[in-house]
């Protein structure tokens, strides 16, 4: 098993946001996490990635069988967990090309023998960002919504992770960008067989990735688990609230 989350309780500044989440993921599996705003989706993503403000008060996170609950953000990343941020910060003075090299574990200012200097170029092409235009752009500075999401993918592709945690890769992007993002992820999954946890509000991105399982979060808990084919039409028809109500009645 790649990831196992057991009875996870998480608080931020004393307020409990996740109230006992348990889930697991196999190698090469795609899982979708859905739910209305403030249901705990991003909290789950940032807790898995190890952000220190998300305090785990109970439960644990196992990655490849190892308990990573108290490991730092960078340790988890180097173990193979990569987070694509929902709203990544802009960083002045750091070029996107350098950021991609750094994500790949290289030092762009002091390359080692064997480092591929063209890696940032190749990866930018994979997410349809023209290298000539984007290599020297400062990370996320003045980027549109779609550009930010693609820059996120470029960085986590460079990490060659075992698990991608994609926090709303489709929010705030136009239809063209969505296509690019969907195709890039699809292609990456096809070639690398990397597991993906996709957090989203919409079905659009899932049409490209077809998750094997979906979890619907509500109030910091998993309210419903099911297959994509079974749950997606119901979400579209009833919306989260009614679906969850009906499920709880059943």
């Amino acid at each position: 098993m790649l990831l196992s989350v057991e009875d996870l309780h998480v608080s931020v500044e004393g307020k409990e946001l996740l109230k006992g989440i348990s889930l697991s993921m196999e190698y090469g599996e795609i899982v979708a996490i859905m739910g209305h705003n403030a249901s705990g989706k991003t909290t789950l993503a940032l807790t898995l990635a190890g952000f220190p403000q998300y305090q785990v008060s109970r439960g644990k996170i196992l990655f490849e069988g190892e308990d990573v609950t108290s490991k730092s953000i960078d340790e988890r990343a180097r173990m193979g967990m990569a987070l694509a941020f929902q709203s990544p910060p802009a960083i002045r003075g750091i070029k996107l090309g350098h950021m991609i090299s750094l994500s790949a574990g290289m030092n762009p200012w002091q390359p080692k023998p064997g480092d591929d200097p063209d890696l940032p170029k190749k990866i930018l092409s994979k997410v349809n960002l023209e290298p000539e235009k984007y290599l020297d752009r400062e990370v996320n500075v003045g980027f549109s919504g779609g550009e930010r999401k693609r820059s996120e993918l470029a960085q986590i592709f460079a990490m060659r992770p075992k698990l991608m945690i994609l926090d709303e890769p489709d929010s705030g992007v136009d239809i063209d960008s969505l296509k690019v993002l969907g195709n890039s992820l699809q292609e990456y999954f096809r070639t690398e067989k990397c597991s993906m946890m996709i957090i989203t509000h919409h079905r659009h991105i899932l049409q490209y990735l077809k998750p094997s399982r979906m979890h619907i979060l509500s109030g910091g808990k998993i309210a419903i688990t099911g297959s994509y084919e079974e749950l997606m039409p119901k979400i579209e028809e009833l919306g989260y609230e009614r679906l969850i109500k009906e499920a709880s009645r059943e």
Binding site: D74, A77, I91, G93, I94, G105, N107
Partner: protein, 410 residues
């Protein structure tokens, strides 16, 4: 130099040898010597240290002036460099009588004890002049190197960019690893003539026990542009400098960019003053600093608007990495005319945790991530700064992130 004409400066200087500087700690320079002990030479250590301040003694750059302690070891121009001359200041004063009318004109010999000492205990310095209308593309590099323990280096430099010319000078000041407690009181006078441009990039790399009091005056004539780029990323015991630009001609411009990494227990008191004297003149000072250790940084800035249609802007951006360090911004805007537009902006804060976590989420260890962010914060990236100089400065900043361990504990 024992010339008659200089007597008056010496007499004036004698009156000011105890005059405290308006800013900074008072440094007792009496124990420092200006008599060289032995011959200096260009060994490998000297070459390596020089390279750290951007001066390549083996390279094929345009021209090189190299002074160790009080000896000028190198003062040569590549033969293909046209339209520029360079030589030690004392030689130039012997060669050109007219140069006397520039001596101590951009600043006063009686400004404080340091200008006075620089006159009384002068140790060479360089003279660089670009001929009228010559665009000197290759940068001229100069290096003031202190190689002996206990030395006071007191050069007097004069740069003249003649009418319509363009000149680009890179100066490195550094200390040999074999010398520790040293002092430097360099005087620099810059004259930018009508429609000329002088870009002066200075890279300081001192020792933990270096006392530094440079004194600089700049005069910019009509349509002239003076750009100063200043970089210091190594620790220093105590530095205080306050270069002053006088924009005397219509539409003259001055711009000061400073990039400082303050570490250990350095005391750093730096700033600029710009007099917008003539109509249409403009001045800008941008100061970027990162502080660590127990360093104390003061950024002073003053812009004085004295004529119509003048503009000035001061900016200080500080990042405090260690709570035991401090940054103080002291901006002063003085409007002495109703048609002057002056502004200042200061933002000092800690490293943004959000950015640090973002880099860590890419698998970058926190120490390296801090180095990358600090470099990004200090990166010159300024419009108008030639790419070659940006690269020169970036290569210095790269030193900050090559270390895999933290720069220093707080």
């Amino acid at each position: 130099m024992s010339d008659e004409w200089r007597k008056k400066y010496r007499l004036e200087a004698l009156q000011a040898v105890t005059k405290r500087s308006a800013f900074g700690n008072d440094i007792d320079l009496s124990d420092f010597v200006t008599i060289p002990k032995g011959g200096a030479n260009l060994d490998e250590t000297v070459k390596r240290r020089s390279l750290e301040v951007g001066v390549d003694l083996e390279g094929k750059k345009g021209g090189t002036y190299f002074q160790v302690d009080h000896s000028v070891l190198l003062s040569q121009l590549a033969s293909r460099i046209k339209g520029v001359e360079m030589m030690p200041t004392d030689e130039a004063l012997n060669k050109y009588d007219w140069l006397r009318s520039y001596y101590w004109k951009a600043l006063s010999v009686t400004q404080d004890k340091y200008t006075a000492i620089a006159e009384l205990r002068q140790t060479k310095g360089y003279f660089i002049r670009s001929a009228p209308n010559e665009k000197v593309e290759q940068p001229i590099q100069t290096c003031l190197y202190i190689g002996t323990e206990g030395v006071l280096q007191a050069p007097h430099n004069i740069i003249i960019a003649e009418e319509g010319s363009e000149l680009n000078v890179i100066t490195g000041c550094t200390v040999d690893s074999r010398a520790k407690t040293v002092a430097h009181v360099g005087v620099s006078e810059f004259y930018v003539k009508k429609n000329a441009t002088l870009i002066f990039t200075m890279i300081h790399s001192w020792s933990d026990e270096a006392y530094v009091r440079p004194r600089t005056g700049v005069i910019v004539e009509e349509g002239g542009t003076f750009i100063s780029n200043y970089v210091m990323i190594k620790p220093v015991r105590d530095i205080q400098s306050y270069p002053t630009a006088h924009l005397v001609g219509k539409d003259a411009k001055a711009k000061f960019n400073s990039i400082i990494y303050a570490s250990k227990d350095s005391i750093i008191d730096l700033g600029n003053r710009i007099y917008l004297m003539a109509e249409g003149t403009s001045g800008e000072s941008i100061f970027k600093v990162v502080s660590t250790g127990t360093s104390k940084v003061y950024n002073r800035g003053q812009i004085i608007g004295q004529n119509r249609n003048t503009k000035g802007h001061l900016e200080c951006r500080g990042m405090i990495l260690c709570p035991t360090s401090s940054i103080t911004a002291i901006p002063e805007l003085v409007a002495e005319h109703s048609d002057t537009e002056l502004s200042h902006e200061a933002a000092i804060g800690r490293l943004q945790e959000e950015q640090l976590h973002y880099l860590m989420a890419r698998g970058i260890q926190p120490e390296q991530a801090i180095g990358v962010l600090v470099k990004g914060f200090l990166d010159p990236g300024l419009p108008g700064l030639p790419e070659r100089l940006q690269e020169e400065i970036r290569s210095k900043l790269a030193l900050l992130e090559r270390k895999s361990s933290p720069q220093e504990p707080c």
